[in-house]
Symmetry: C2
DNA sequence: ATTTATTATCGCACTCAGTGTAATTTTGCA
DNA sequence: TGCAAAATTACACTGAGTGCGATAATAAAT
């Protein structure tokens, strides 16, 4: 009899996770080495020690490998972090604090590499923008939970949009400076600048 | 000797334009009928009365057919319209006026159809977001011309982002209401709502 | 321990988008 | 008329992604 709530990881689950992570790791290595377009699915499969067909058992497309590698946990952390804010403040202030808190925890060196890869192809560039929109949606949903008045929904959406725009500006500046300062610094600057536009 | 400044359209140019437009028209018809994914390149080529290979002489991808059909001139009109605004006003006010002016001129029934198609596939949805970012860039560039002080560039970028976000909200509302009111109406509402968030 | 049901892996053959190449036809122009 | 550029085409190829069916590995049940 084993600990009730502590679920033991079986052989199957372990192997699955290992293979999944191996695909991402090898895939990313190849993308960096030969470029995204220059890397074939067969090459990834071979490097990961699986068949071409099995690759699609784990990922439904080549893009998904890159996107899976891209996600450093920021998106998962966003909702809880937002709900953690007090509703007794202006939404824009709350979201600003929330983003700055997350920024320090999830900024990663690798993200510069990802970004370069994501810029290498039209389809990937487009996908990158789509990720921002998804994140905006997550943020909006969380805000709607925090301030549940239905009449505010549209206004909150605008705030979420504005916040994500500000984050985009901060990220660009950060990457442009080769991460000289912590991301939170650029975020603060961007939000300050935003306030001056109104 | 023919009129100097009035360039006559030769047979070659005419045929080229006709073929180009025929591909878009037939392609769009098929997309609506069988869905984007359900429409093959060969089908488009056959409907347009050209060979598969010739299709790629006109368009570099299937997506491009849809995007070419999508563009109703709004993007081309944006820069001149923005530059037409007086720089003696707050950037956000100027961009608001500019967008409202354009809205009435370029809202089209077809755009609801396009939008449905664009939502049918992950790649197309992503591409749609990317178009917004491109448009934001056009807007930003125009604003930087109108207020050329380099120190303002970042602030103007934020304004451009905010404006495009507001436009997105207005478009969603407009489509949600099945274009019951003119787009300009929703745009005014959205900008009013925006002002209340600060 | 043996059977049974899942889950993972793989191979094969297929469709479809997109490219390279080279040949052929059409059009513009001298 | 003849010559150059542009348009069209066929053919063969790569690479992503899917459908299907077989086989092996693991978990669960008897």
């Amino acid at each position: 009899m084993k600990g009730a709530s502590e679920r033991q990881e079986g052989v199957r689950e372990r192997k699955r996770r290992e293979t999944y992570e191996r695909i991402i790791e090898k895939g990313l290595r190849l993308f960096v080495k030969n470029g995204y377009e220059g890397t074939t699915l067969d090459a990834i499969a071979e490097a990961a020690g699986i068949s071409r067909r099995t690759f699609f058992y784990y990922f439904k497309s080549k893009e998904d490998v890159l996107l899976a590698a891209h996600d450093s946990g920021f998106r998962q952390a966003l909702r809880p972090a937002m709900l953690d804010e007090s509703p007794d403040q202006a939404p824009l202030d709350a979201v600003q604090k929330c983003l700055i808190k997350l920024a320090s925890r999830y900024e990663t060196k690798e993200s510069v590499v990802f970004d370069r890869l994501m810029d290498s192809t039209a389809a990937l560039r487009a996908r990158k923008e789509a990720v921002f929109v998804e994140t905006e949606q997550i943020l909006w949903d969380a805000m709607c939970e925090l301030w549940p008045a239905p009449a505010r929904r549209d206004g909150l959406r605008l705030v979420a949009m504005v916040a994500m725009g500000t984050l985009r500006l901060a990220l660009d500046k950060w990457k442009q400076d080769d991460a000289a300062h912590p991301l939170a610094h650029y975020l603060r600057q961007a939000f300050t600048l935003l306030a001056k536009q109104f």
